[in-house]
């Protein structure tokens, strides 16, 4: 964009102005996102560690996530593909809201923010659906040694679905990491939808029209894109590899 052209990089460090040409709020949002990205990075790296350790017994995602709503067929990765599409789509509508804000186009901002919220809500709902099927499991189940509290021994039985201790898909750590990482990401999406909703109400009230700029849209946009960014990595490391 044009504003960087007239920027004198050397004079910027002489004091009296922000050398980054970023407002305080936006910079703090970026710093928060870096720290949050470090958290997710740590989680995914520890996931990689455990996966390497149990490389021989780690289940394949194509064999675990095979369901699709209303269709009784074996469709590996189809639903998670749809979820990814929904999230990328809502990321696009978000950036279009930011762009509309740069033109002070209140109607555009309202419309695109609305679709962003719809996309986010659809994604959270899809994740709930996926968790439900993961926890309930398949009809066949798999033979597992389940700890019996009463006798204090492992009892062999056919086990369906997943808990933190046992799951029918493979090592217990598989379900642990699935719940923790997609849960942590899902909570981020949920908070993102809530924050988007608050900003959306402010747009309706005309708060930013009065303020003279729609920077707030850009700030929540940064958070929302970050959520999409994390999902890109979760999608690769959980479902594809």
């Amino acid at each position: 964009m044009a504003h960087t052209a007239e920027f004198d990089a050397k004079a910027a460090w002489d004091g009296g102005q922000s050398p980054f040409r970023v407002s305080y709020g936006k910079m703090m949002m970026w710093f928060f996102l870096v720290s949050d990205a470090l958290t997710f990075g740590g989680l995914l790296v520890s996931y990689g560690f455990i996966r390497h350790k149990y490389a021989e017994v780690w289940p394949k995602a194509e064999n675990v996530f095979t369901h699709f709503p209303f269709i009784e067929q074996h469709l590996p990765l189809a639903y998670v593909g749809l979820m990814t599409f929904i999230l990328i789509m809502s990321s696009v509508t978000m950036v279009l809201a930011v762009e509309a804000g740069h033109r002070m186009d209140r109607r555009g901002v309202t419309m695109w923010m609305f679709w962003t919220i719809v996309g986010g809500a659809l994604f959270v709902g899809s994740q709930a659906w996926e968790w439900y099927h993961f926890i309930v499991g398949t009809h066949e189940g798999a033979l597992r040694n389940v700890w019996d509290m009463a006798t204090g021994t492992y009892v062999q039985q056919t086990y369906h679905g997943a808990t933190m201790a046992v799951n029918e898909y493979g090592v217990p750590q598989f379900a642990n990491y699935f719940f923790f990482i997609t849960g942590f990401h899902g909570f981020h999406v949920f908070s993102g939808v809530m924050i988007n909703l608050i900003i959306f109400l402010n747009v309706l009230k005309g708060t930013y029209e009065k303020r003279g700029h729609y920077e707030m849209i850009e700030k929540v946009g940064l958070y929302w894109h970050f959520v999409d960014l994390v999902w890109v990595f979760v999608f690769t490391f959980f479902y594809l590899l």
């Binding site: 964009m1 990089a9 102005q17 980054f20 790296v45 455990i50 017994v57 394949k60 493979g170 479902y239």
Partner: protein
């Protein structure tokens, strides 16, 4: 209406743009979207074809997926989050610490992950699971290996 009390340029003079500039910006954004959608669909097709072709878990496939993921991540950060439009200093202050840390973490975890997978480094938790797997192998599943057992409930539909 800037929050700054110096002569720092306000948000609207820095970022607001005209109709034509907006049109150009939107064109770029939609292009980024189509590229990302194409990459995702390509990944899904390759991902669901991989098992029947025996590519699953091969190094080439892993590198391909991770490479495409980094491309998508870069597209999001540079165009959707507008980091490409910020000043050079700001780009570095956001990206350098993060990339440095993550490269180190990935390196150390690959080394340690392989090392901790050796049988002599297994902890008590590992032995319990391995015992389970051994018992299952010896008992009900008649010769089915541990890796096979993980896939067992779904294996039949797949072939």
């Amino acid at each position: 209406m800037s929050e700054f009390h110096d002569d720092y340029p306000s948000y609207e003079t820095m970022y607001n743009h005209s109709e034509e500039e907006g049109k150009k910006a939107r064109k770029v954004l939609w292009k980024v979207f189509w590229v990302m959608l194409f990459i995702t669909i390509f990944e899904l097709i390759v991902g669901s074809m991989a098992p029947s072709h025996g590519w699953s878990g091969t190094l080439g496939l892993k590198v391909l997926f991770i490479g495409l993921t980094v491309v998508k991540a870069a597209a999001i950060v540079l165009w959707f989050m507008h980091l490409g439009h910020e000043t050079k200093f700001f780009k570095y202050i956001i990206l350098l610490p993060y990339i440095t840390f993550i490269l180190y973490a990935v390196f150390i975890i690959l080394v340690e992950g392989v090392y901790s997978g050796y049988p002599r480094n297994m902890t008590r938790v590992d032995k319990i699971f391995i015992d389970q797997q051994e018992k299952l192998k010896a008992g009900h599943h008649g010769g089915g290996g541990a890796a096979h057992e993980a896939e067992a409930p779904h294996g039949e539909e797949h072939h």
